[in-house]
């Protein structure tokens, strides 16, 4: 069926074929009979990674096959979303090993993007917790791969943006929790140096990230709020909460009902938002115990928040630079601050070590921000790409809708090795997306 499709950034929007399936056999027949296929989960990557000519919706392939409550192991069909899993596992005392800032993604998407969370410096990426998974490859066979079995398929599928085949089943380990709450501490940092210092001081915390105000200059350049957290212990809860430590009260969700006009977000409103947000933290240090939802998924409380950027959509720009490239971080932030196009949702995080073939993270600084699509934006981002490249960094493919192919090939050191494995399992570009065509990954 022809549908209008776009991912979370509402850019690009395409009209394309989308089909769903519930049985692996249906999928196999479809894969063998078609070309230019790309698996599509819940459409929460920002750019064009899960958009193609023949989109396969995974959302109906969502059965939970097994949950080992003793050992915390889940075995699921890849189309199930994290929010559904949280409802099952949290009441039993388990949590996702790694979660990104939204729970509305599929498990298959989590592997294909090899997502990271606030605990990257401690727990790595999602695929670090995968025991094994099934991938349906171009010839229609299903291959079970793991870190020790069909290793190259496993490595190229984790973070491989769906290009090795269709991830159909994933078995992974969970994290033990004793409450559904997080003990959170916020530290106010007056500038970039201070926040980087704070990241280092508090690196023993499982979870950490910072909101950073990209529009400040001078002494306040890079003023931020560092947020760190740990899963709370029962004794840290109130008496009321202790009665049911693994359940959290249901909350109503707000919805952005339609695309806001794009002038709503401009330099003034963003500045005002940042000032309010920063000012809200009136103390240098704030402690509280909160449910896990607002800690991990603050934006999920506003359904369709992406409509706030208007009809033209937005792109999210996320890059990483290694730890010794603080100078580069400053250079890029300065460039963004001068331009004044930055968004109010700018997130800074320090990644830990990462040893993988094609996944995005590396030990160092990562900064993520939204830019509403406007005239001149892509030229500006091309400029930023050059600076990122110059400092040895790279961009996150799950956020990308516009990177030029040479940037990708120069910035991902294993690009060729990855492309070679993709060719082995997907020789005729049976699986390809707008992104893989743009980056010449499946050509």
């Amino acid at each position: 069926m022809q549908k209008r499709l776009s991912n979370w950034g509402n850019y690009p929007v395409i009209t394309s074929e989308e089909n769903a399936f519930t049985q692996e056999e249906q999928l196999r027949q479809y894969v063998v009979a078609n070309s230019s296929i790309i698996a599509r989960g819940n459409g929460r990557c920002y750019g064009d990674a899960s958009l193609g000519k023949n989109n396969i919706s995974m959302l109906k392939y969502d059965k939970v096959l097994a949950f080992d409550i003793q050992n915390g192991i889940l075995d699921v069909q890849a189309g199930v979303t994290l929010d559904q899993l949280l409802e099952i596992i949290v009441p039993k005392g388990w949590f996702l090993p790694v979660t990104p800032g939204t729970k509305y993604i599929t498990v298959g998407g989590a592997v294909a993007s090899d997502v990271h969370g606030k605990n990257h410096h401690v727990d790595g990426t999602f695929s670090n917790h995968v025991i094994d998974m099934d991938v349906l490859i171009a010839d229609g066979t299903t291959v079970c791969c793991s870190p020790t079995q069909h290793t190259n398929l496993f490595q190229a599928t984790a973070g491989g943006m769906g290009l090795t085949g269709i991830i159909t089943r994933v078995k992974f380990t969970l994290k033990k929790i004793s409450t559904a709450y997080i003990r959170q501490t916020q530290y106010k940092a007056a500038n970039l140096d201070e926040v980087l210092q704070l990241f280092d001081t508090y690196k023993h915390y499982t979870y950490s990230m910072a909101w950073i105000d990209c529009l400040q200059t001078g002494n306040s350049f890079g003023r931020s709020i560092l947020i760190v957290g740990e899963h709370a212990q029962p004794e840290e809860l109130t008496a009321q909460q202790q009665k049911a430590p693994l359940t959290i009260p249901a909350k109503r969700k707000l919805v952005v009902p339609f695309n806001l006009p794009s002038f709503v977000l401009n330099k003034l409103t963003v500045k005002a938002f940042n000032a309010l947000y920063y000012g809200k933290n009136y103390k240098k240090e704030m402690h509280k115990v909160i449910p896990y939802e607002p800690f991990f998924y603050p934006l999920d409380a506003i359904l369709h928040w992406n409509r706030g950027y208007g009809k033209a959509g937005f792109v999210q720009y996320q890059f990483v630079l290694s730890l010794d490239q603080k100078e580069g971080l400053v250079a890029i932030m300065k460039r963004i601050s001068e331009k004044g196009w930055g968004s109010f949702l700018t997130v800074l995080k320090v990644f830990g070590k990462q040893d993988s073939l094609i996944s995005f993270p590396m030990e160092g600084y990562t900064l993520a921000m939204d830019f509403p699509v406007r005239k001149g934006l892509f030229e500006f981002l091309d400029e930023l790409d050059e600076i990122v490249l110059q400092y040895g960094g790279r961009l996150y493919l799950s956020k990308d809708a516009r990177m030029q192919q040479q940037i990708f090939w120069k910035s991902y050191p294993n690009a060729q090795a990855f492309a070679d494995i993709v060719k082995q399992y997907n020789p005729d570009a049976r699986f390809e997306s707008l992104q893989s065509e743009r980056l010449l990954l499946t050509k």
């Binding site: 069926m1 022809q2 089909n19 769903a20 399936f21 519930t22 049985q23 056999e25 109906k60 969502d62 059965k63 939970v64 096959l65 097994a66 949950f67 069909q77 559904q84 409802e87 099952i88």
Partner: protein, 243 residues
């Protein structure tokens, strides 16, 4: 826990119904032709909702097997939902009896065969609920799908008669008349979004109608009035329309 029997458990609508009733703590009996395809759903229901779920082989067109199928269920279900249906290919069915009879047998004869057996049991025990998923296509025959429509018309009339007969036995019959539903059955069609329901929404409406002992349920509700208008068009005009 009381259980729900889903006849034709492989469809998107059945998955949504199974999850809805399981979330209300009903045990679930999944019945369909391809039992191995139903196994993942069984596991899913058990893990998500902590209920008992089971899988049973059932073929709507194999009438002779229906009595033994029903008697071999682990327990008599408190609720039976007849979900199976076959849209078929109208143009093909006009020339090909195999296709035409498959449409008629799946949507009408097969449903009558199994529900005759179940309703007998319910009448004897003096309780039970039968939910039949028919279609608004049965409200008036149209050239684009009158084979499917006429079989569903027969099924709708059957359900209404069954309701009338079983009322005095304390057995409730709910007729569900969905319009467009976004399922694999309709995947190849381009449907008007405002008139198209998601299977989860249909399942929620059906559960509510079951709780309130409603007799006839249109989903979405607009369809009640759309079909009213379609039924009011004089035949002299209707026959000239290309619907």
């Amino acid at each position: 826990m009381p259980s729900v029997l889903l006849l034709g458990a492989g469809s998107d609508m059945a998955v949504a119904l199974a999850r809805k009733f399981a979330s209300e703590k009903f045990d679930i009996q999944l019945a369909g032709r391809n039992t191995s395809a139903l196994e993942p759903m069984k596991l899913d229901l058990q893990v998500r909702y902590g209920i008992k779920a089971s899988v049973h082989a059932f073929d709507a067109q194999d009438y002779n097997s229906h009595a033994s199928f029903f008697s071999q269920l682990p327990e008599v279900p408190a609720v039976t939902i007849c979900v199976f249906g076959y849209l078929g290919d109208q143009e093909k069915a006009q020339q090909n009896w195999l296709e035409a009879s498959r449409i008629i047998e799946t949507n009408y004869t097969g449903a009558v065969s199994i529900l005759n057996i179940i309703s007998q049991q319910y009448a004897q025990s003096g309780n039970g609920t039968i939910i039949g998923i028919s279609s608004v296509a049965g409200e008036r025959g149209r050239q684009s799908n009158y084979l499917y429509g006429s079989a569903k018309a027969g099924f709708t009339a059957y359900l209404s008669g069954l309701r009338n007969r079983l009322f005095k036995y304390n057995v409730h019959v709910l007729s569900v008349l969905p319009g467009f539903v976004d399922t694999q059955m309709t995947q190849h069609l381009t449907l008007p979004p405002l008139l198209t329901a998601q299977p989860e929404a249909v399942a929620n409406s059906i559960y509510k109608a079951f709780k309130s002992k409603k007799n006839v349920l249109y989903v979405k509700w607009h369809w009640k009035y759309i079909m009213l208008i379609i039924k009011l068009i004089p035949e002299a005009i209707f026959k000239k329309l290309s619907l």
